[in-house]
Symmetry: C2
Subunit: 377 residues, 2 copies
Amino acid sequence: MSFPVVGMVGGGQLARMCAQAAIGLGVGFEVLALDADESAAQVVRSAFIGDHNKYEDLLAFARGCDVLTFDHEHVPTHHLDALVAEGILVRPGPAALINAQDKLEMRKTLSAAGIPCPAWREVASASDVAEFAQTCGWPVVLKTARGGYDGKGVLIVRDQVQAQELMAGSNGQWLAEQYVDFSCELAVQVARSPHGQAAVYPVVQTTQRDGVCREVIAPAPIDEDLALAAQAIALRIAQVIEVTGMLAVEMFLTDQGVLVNELAMRPHNSGHWSIDGAVTSQFEQHLRAVLDLPLGSTAAVAPYAVMVNVLGGDHPDVYKAYLHCMAHDPGLKIHMYGKAVRPGRKVGHVTVIGDDLDDLLERGRHAAAYLTGEITQ
Amino acid sequence: MSFPVVGMVGGGQLARMCAQAAIGLGVGFEVLALDADESAAQVVRSAFIGDHNKYEDLLAFARGCDVLTFDHEHVPTHHLDALVAEGILVRPGPAALINAQDKLEMRKTLSAAGIPCPAWREVASASDVAEFAQTCGWPVVLKTARGGYDGKGVLIVRDQVQAQELMAGSNGQWLAEQYVDFSCELAVQVARSPHGQAAVYPVVQTTQRDGVCREVIAPAPIDEDLALAAQAIALRIAQVIEVTGMLAVEMFLTDQGVLVNELAMRPHNSGHWSIDGAVTSQFEQHLRAVLDLPLGSTAAVAPYAVMVNVLGGDHPDVYKAYLHCMAHDPGLKIHMYGKAVRPGRKVGHVTVIGDDLDDLLERGRHAAAYLTGEITQ
């Protein structure tokens, strides 16, 4: 047996960080990217340039790999089904992945399995939304079943008129969800391999702004029983949907315990801390899981890790800021994605590990704000 | 300022592990490799295929990079001088690198600076060796000034007749060194940048077999004063020779303190533990140093790290052994270099971190022996 080749559809930073992990593992790693300048395409031997919406591109790419996996959820389900029929190992498989592609499918699956979710229902009209609001109250969270990420496709509506405006002219599916009053947001990473081995990471606390993840604390500074309950829910979801690879379960922490918000079936922003903060990073773990290799230890290497995203700002010179941050804090781990700076775009992240959470938060936030250009000293 | 590009001459595993670090840093990384299947050439966007002995190949490669550095010491000095004259940033520069290329130059430099070395002299004949032995006794360590690595070019001679046999017909330079009775071997990694910032790693203990590094313990289980003295010597050498990038100083620990054995001016086998065991790996640090970026923290992330090399053996199926080792020990970090197995060839390494040194040694040795094929359970 020779060392296998993983093919990842999508050339973003998740694929880039998987490429880094593949070098250590010694496994082959190929990327299907839209163009040669994408984040991951810059750092692999020879990216396959193609369109993940075209079946022929997917098939040609997959034929050069031992297993196919994903940096995003945008591959159409009927293409995935056709690839499986062709004998391609697709991991996660389409039946699992649908739960990360379609929020309505996800809610149906989780509710059927008794997983705690916010109250929800499928809605076809503003009057459906108003009817739903009679039980849960306004505002209502209105979501498109497909196509959302980083907060896109998620809307908070205060009344029937606003729901009417938003839904007018749409022919997609919608669901309405209870607006949850949460104390904080949590995420749990689980790896699961085809033969059913699962490994769960410490629960993390995430902070979003404008629907985009900004900051992660690992482990979440919450009660241990709550953390165990959150991990148990994530493991149960992994088993129910039979995911292969990494699963990220985003949750709300409420007075009544945790409620599942979203799922992702790939390495996820809430797990980036694991590169510097855990024995096995989520990127290495994803490769191990989709290759059906034994999973690695998810143990943390320090009492705390803090990860803060670097979003593109109006900064004139990121490299100069990068020099400054390195000089300012030799313990900082800066990760840059090779992406051109555009306002709000994720262009990198910083991680710091140690035992003093307040110190780590201050250092991580300072570096990210400096790199983004929000502060200049 | 945009992110710069480092060009590394040589496509071995050191360049491969630098490629991994470059992905995280977001800097460009190019490799000059002899062929496209070399370890590092497999994992960079597009390796430059050429010969490091040909000036035109070196120059063409260097013109596409912001700074030139090395995965080995085999580039002829006159080519390096010509590149510098051409305006290429060569780091480490030829005047420093000569001390890693030529053992006679190294001994002259270190002795002039008062650095503790084994007794030595240049020898041109077997009678010179015999004369040297009158002061130090037999056996004598006879070394070729150039061309040695992994124990090659280093010979232990018991008498004048044997020296005569070895030196006959050679037109290279030789030096004779005292055969040192050491209690263990140590190594110290230092990073130094062009503006003179230096950072030193914890002293490690190395174990060689047949002249090849087999095992590294970080930090070396030695007295703290001794460790500080060893670090001070390594820092002094970095300053004296004005190295840029990583410097590895190999030392003997003797009753009279430490004596310097060899120098390498690049990431070194004795520093591989730092990928998993330190905040900043020696590979990231080398890139930071040659780019004149501020250096990163050299702090360890665990009380101990153990690194054991995986040498090619007669093993029929390394991948199967790799699966076994991963299943056996989820905390193990296996690093494979993408190299075909040949007996004695370095094809990978394993690292384990933790607080129980005996446990780490047992796990690291077991995994390496299993991967090498020395044991089958």
